[in-house]
């Protein structure tokens, strides 16, 4: 049995693992996809202390190396269910079963889809949820970004340097993103704002060719980058776990309603989802989990 299992190898989970391993706990991190979490897709990070302009990819890689060098064990396995048992928790994947005295959930969030009927058929054929992955395929072309938060504006700025023209489509008339980003977007001649608009239709033979909005626009684009928010990865994971609006209900102490089960990072109910609050959660959740294993 491990002392602590951390589910998710993003900034929150890996920070938690670093704290736990430094307290001489036997720690296992289970990651469904790849290390680093959502931040790896950010082209540059300018608001994390002491690491100005670091790329998200370097941030993820450095954090993973730091954790592994300290002795954190990382396994690539997708956790499907967590059950409280005598003296701890059973953590299951499709083929494996693990156990630990305490568990930290740091599963993060996944991109929200538009919810249009032919959306899936255009994935990889015009629709993308990652500008830094797929922007290069749209060099010199016209694309659209959908969304009004930091991610959407980051993507629009990144794409404006590659593409001929970028439409930024947002359902409201003002942006939720940081003022610095909004100002930067407004200085770009090749970003055109399409406000008070929702995408209602995707057209194209094999590849996306145009999109329609509910305020009467038809925009000819070869790519659409969707950044309309995130969905927490918490549903159905633990029986009896209290959720609020699909997020794991918790305060700043990172405790859940289940003793011994802690939560860190974006999957938790919180005011501000940022790198710095994710790593902070990791430290708090790990400290609480370490204390719990001593009880």
């Amino acid at each position: 049995m491990h002392d602590i299992i951390v589910v998710g190898a993003g900034p929150a989970g890996l920070t938690a693992a670093i704290y736990a391993v430094r307290a001489n706990k036997k720690v296992l991190v289970l990651e469904a996809l790849a290390c680093g979490g959502q931040i790896i897709n950010t082209s540059h990070i300018d608001n994390y202390p002491v690491a100005p302009h670091i790329t998200g990819a370097d941030f993820g890689k450095t954090l993973q190396k730091q954790a592994e060098d300290l002795g954190v064990e990382i396994e690539y396995d997708e956790v499907t269910h967590i059950t409280p048992i005598e003296g701890g928790f059973k953590v299951e994947s499709e083929d494996e079963e693990y156990s630990a005295k305490s568990v930290i959930l740091a599963t993060g969030t996944s991109p929200r889809k538009l919810g249009l009927e032919n959306e899936d058929s255009f994935i990889g054929k015009g629709i993308s949820y990652c500008a830094t992955c797929d922007g290069g395929f749209y060099k010199g072309k016209t694309v659209a970004v959908n969304g009004g938060g930091n991610s959407a504006l980051h993507e629009a700025l990144y794409l404006s340097g590659i593409c001929d023209k970028v439409y930024l489509i947002h359902r409201r008339d003002e942006f939720r993103a940081d003022a610095a980003l909004v100002d930067k977007v407004k200085t770009k001649d090749n970003i055109e704002l399409v406000l008070n608009a929702n995408i209602t239709k995707l057209n194209g033979e094999k590849h996306l060719e145009s999109i329609e909005t509910d305020n009467g626009h038809t925009l000819n684009v070869s790519g659409l980058f969707v950044a309309i928010g995130r969905i927490p990865n918490a549903a159905g994971l633990v029986d009896g776990l209290e959720l609020t609006d699909d997020y794991v209900a918790s305060g700043e102490d990172c405790k859940t309603n289940i003793p011994g089960l802690f939560v860190a990072g974006d999957v938790r109910t919180k005011e501000l989802r940022q790198l710095v609050t994710a790593t902070s959660d990791g430290a708090i959740a790990a400290t609480a989990a370490i204390d719990f294993t001593h009880e």
Partner: protein, 103 residues
């Protein structure tokens, strides 16, 4: 075994004429999820000889990327007996990749 670098010159031999199933990873140095996926594919390559893993850099091998209509990466394509039998875009759980090869 380790990951094989796929090029237009060895693609026929390493992928199309392979007697084992092949997972082809179309990727690029500037694609963060591709880079994050790389150590997982290395693990897979080392853990089994039942399949091959071939990595294709789409900037160096643009003709291959075009031939296989890659326009979103990471793009993971499974070949068996020279035919494409499965394709997934974006990061996938390691075990799902293994199952794609075993199917």
């Amino acid at each position: 075994m380790s990951i094989i670098e796929g090029t237009k010159d060895n693609f026929e031999k390493e992928v199309i004429k392979s007697d084992k199933p092949v997972l082809v990873d179309f990727n690029a140095t500037w694609c963060p999820p591709c880079q994050a996926l790389h150590p997982i594919l290395e693990e897979m390559a080392e853990e089994s000889d039942d399949y091959k893993i071939v990595s294709v850099d789409i900037d160096d091998e643009d003709a291959l990327a075009e031939q296989y209509e890659v326009s979103s990466i990471p793009c993971l394509v499974v070949f068996k007996d020279g035919e494409e039998v499965d394709r997934k875009i974006g990061l996938q759980p390691k075990k799902r990749l293994i199952k794609m090869l075993e199917k």
